[in-house]
């Protein structure tokens, strides 16, 4: 209750002002502080660094300055020589990656989302690694062979250490994949590994995958499933704690995960392929496009994914950033609920195919950032894709669509379209454009938009079953046709509405055929049949756009949406 005296008030003001001034001064010093060896190379900063930092740096700079000036160099590079040796000696610099989707676990073996795989694959290695061109090369395994049709044998690399110092053994490898086979683990990858009976550590160098049936796709699938340390996993208490605080063999070590804010990892100097050039990687998530791209443009991020066409010019127009585009493996299509009348009739499904002008959508709404795939559900980047993918089996023809509907005796009525929002490139607009086109052939479409996580959630299955159409996409994580077919067109899986025993048999037969030529021929049959039946409306392959800061070197956008930074470095 005591009143603030005038003198006390002035004292407080003085203290606050000086405090503020001090903190501002410190804030300015921070970028040029000697603790960060990567920074001094930035030419703009180095000149400013001299007067701004009254600590240790100026003395070094001053000592170096006369020499460099004597050799007729301008003032700019003075700070650089002082820091260069440190940069050359080991990993340096920090890269901030901002993803569109959230990280839900750091154990890539549990979830299929690339937002999880991206950080995870830097901390833990799979047995084999997939190159950007799709070929599989040895990684934690040095070689593999098929002693018989039902055994896949790996030679495991020796002397590789986990981040906690434990040596990776064949026991760890066997443990990792047996864990995934256990239905109790409840991994999203488990259904895809159904061919594996068990995994055995034969000796200190050899691991055998004993198969129930031959599976030609197994190597590709294993390329996204990292090996985890058995001892650490058990000591920390299983799947959930491990997913929060992973330990692996990867080029980067886990540092911290502040939920909803960032995941931080740091270079592992003992990495078996050699220490990475980067010191720190920070992952953040911003789903809002404008905000994510603004972070890149203001220098708060070095790499962002899923740049929408409307914002691409901003990145191209900025001197400090560049846009990398690549035709992705993600194929977008419109699922048709074939369990509901009138879509049980193939003529109605064909009518839907004729009603939608994919080319126009790609040109306008997507600004050319997609490639129409009128003949199939995966592009040429996927092994085993349907070769007639560019042929227009059901060209855009509203009159024909109406005629087919009349032929089937169907009066177009209300039609419910489901789509996630903010999942695919401009998805909200794409689905509305589709609705507009269906309206033109007589339907009364209703668009239902949900968050991706909600759409995908299991409790929403009933809701999905009430829908007529569903804008869907498949990112082919293994670049093998089987991935899409057995996820989305196989009745025992959760994917597409359409399916039957005949198609199931065809998919299984193709997967269990080890002869490459015969397998490829089978996928042509499958592709043709899916098109004959018009099980969905094929739309397009997305062209993925990444915004990259020019200080980040050695990053190459990949078709499979993986952002791999082991070989990357930062300059300036």
């Amino acid at each position: 209750m005591t009143a603030l005296s005038r003198r006390r008030f002035l004292q407080l003001c003085a203290v606050t002002t000086s405090g503020l001034a001090l903190s501002v001064a410190c804030g300015q010093q921070a970028p040029s502080a000697p603790a960060k060896p990567a920074e001094p190379a930035k030419p703009a900063d180095s000149t400013a660094a001299k007067p701004a930092a009254p600590t240790a740096l100026p003395t070094i700079a001053a000592a170096v300055a006369p020499q460099t000036q004597a050799t007729a160099a301008p003032a700019a590079p003075t700070a650089a020589p002082a820091a260069k040796p440190a940069a050359a000696a080991g990993p340096s610099g920090q890269v901030t990656v901002i993803q569109q989707l959230p990280i839900t676990t750091l154990n890539a073996n549990m979830e299929q989302s690339l937002a999880n795989l991206n950080p995870s694959i830097h901390m833990a290695d799979p047995l084999v690694f997939r190159e950007p061109n799709g070929s599989v090369k040895p990684h934690l395994a040095t070689a593999w062979s098929y002693p018989d049709e039902k055994t896949l044998r790996f030679k495991v690399r020796q002397g590789v250490k986990f981040h906690n110092g434990d040596v990776m053994t064949t026991e760890d490898v066997a443990f990792t994949y047996n864990l995934l086979l256990d239905p109790k683990t409840d991994s999203r990858h488990t259904p895809a590994l159904r061919a594996i009976g068990e995994v055995k550590a034969v000796d200190a160098e050899t691991v055998d995958f004993v198969l129930k049936e031959p599976d030609a796709t197994l190597l590709g699938r294993l390329s996204i499933l990292p090996v985890i340390p058995k001892k650490y996993f058990e000591s920390i208490g299983g799947v959930d704690p491990y997913g929060q605080k992973p330990v692996g063999t990867g080029p980067f070590k886990f540092v911290e995960w502040v939920k909803g804010q960032r995941v931080v990892m740091e270079a592992n100097p003992d990495y078996f392929l050699g220490a990475p050039k980067l010191k720190t990687i920070v992952y953040r998530q911003i789903s809002e496009d404008n905000t994510r791209i603004t972070e890149l443009l203001t220098g708060n991020a070095d790499l962002v994914n899923n740049v929408p066409p409307s914002l691409a010019p901003k990145i191209k127009g900025d001197a400090k950033t560049e846009l990398q585009t690549v035709r992705g493996l993600r194929n977008v299509y419109l699922k048709i609920n074939t369990k509901k009348a009138p879509f049980t009739d193939v003529k109605v499904r064909q009518a839907l195919n004729h009603a939608i002008d994919v080319k126009l959508i790609v040109e306008t709404v997507l600004g050319g950032n997609a490639v129409p795939t009128p003949g199939g559900y995966e592009g040429p980047g996927v092994w085993g894709y349907y070769k007639e993918i560019d042929k227009e089996r059901y060209p855009f023809d509203p009159a024909k669509a109406k005629a087919l509907l009349a032929e089937a005796g169907v009066t177009p009525g209300p039609i419910n379209i489901l789509s996630a929002k903010g999942r695919l490139l401009n998805d909200v607009e794409v689905v509305q454009a589709i609705a507009g086109m269906l309206q033109n052939v007589g339907f009364t479409p209703q668009v239902n938009l949900l968050d991706f996580t909600v759409v995908n959630d299991e409790w929403n299955r009933k809701y999905r079953e009430e829908m007529d159409l569903h804008l869907w996409s498949n990112a082919n994580n293994t670049a093998d046709a089987d991935y899409n077919y057995s996820t989305n067109f196989y009745t025992k899986n959760t994917g597409l509405y359409w399916g039957n025993q005949e198609m199931d048999d065809m998919i299984v037969k193709a997967r269990t055929t080890l002869d490459t030529a015969s397998r490829e021929a089978q996928y042509q049959e499958i592709g043709k049949k899916l098109l004959d039946e018009a099980v969905a409306v094929p739309l397009y392959d997305q062209v993925d756009s990444y915004g990259v800061s020019k200080r980040l070197k050695g990053f190459q956008a990949r078709a499979d949406e993986l952002m791999y930074l082991y070989g990357a470095s930062v300059e300036g």
Binding site: D289, N290, P308, S310, L311, P313, K314, L360, I361, T364, V365, K421, V428, E429, Q432, A433, A435, G436, Q439, P445, Q446, V447, N448, L449
Partner: protein
Amino acid sequence: MAAHEAVLPAEAIAPAPAVRSRASAFTRLRADRKGRSGLLALLVLTVVLFGLPLVLGVDPRFQDLRARLAPPLGFEGSSAGHLLGTDQLGRDLLARLLVGGQMSLTIGFAASILAAGIGVAAGMVAGYAGRFWDGLITSIADVQLTFPNILLGLSVMVVLGPGIGNLILVLVLSSWVFQARIIRADVLSLRHRDFVDAGRAIGATDTYLLWRYILPNIAGSVLVLFTLTLVRVILAEASLSFLGLGVPIEIPSWGGMLAEGRQYLASAWWAGTFPGLLLMLTIVAINLVGDSLRDILDPRIQ
């Protein structure tokens, strides 16, 4: 009959301010500069929103993808027939703005009238009946006030799904409380005033007292509260539509158009600017009327 006979003496006792006629309030509203401009703006807005679409005859849902994001007439690259340009799907922006405005005003008025009805009734019962009813209604109101409104709206819309009926329900749910609480306080201060006691003494029933003695005396509050609620409700509708949980996406709404246009603000300013401007204009107009009404109806200010 008994009630009818009671009217004369009661009105004789009732204080003069209670029976201010509606016509006089309206006349004075027109005489007030703020009130006049607000009323005029609202009138013009209503006529334009509901009349112009009939004249134009443009389908707000018709898409012309090739003419997407065409600027308003007079700007370079504009498309013929689209006065205010087109949105990201090549739909006529003007037609959508008008239909969106109809939606905003209709939903706003419907929800505000319902909320006022419920709020005033509940407030009068709570203030007049006291004890049990007061406790019950006040507790419900208190509990509901602890929820942030937008959170309440979001959760209800997520459960019920987007739809105009559901939207009105949500808006009413989050608005009646404020009315009820203020009306309750007004009624509390009135219920033991001499003229009410007098009415009671000559045998007027509770219903009659509430209707003929109390209600006319709180009419000013009700009217001013209504304008405040209207503003709140229109903004809340826009917010929910902005978040994609209001009006279904097929139906244009200012909030939804703002959300869609925001993405193109850098390259196509018109898509987001016009709905924002109209929303602002509407809110300012209603606020002007409300402000002016308060000045006129509050006896303390005169």
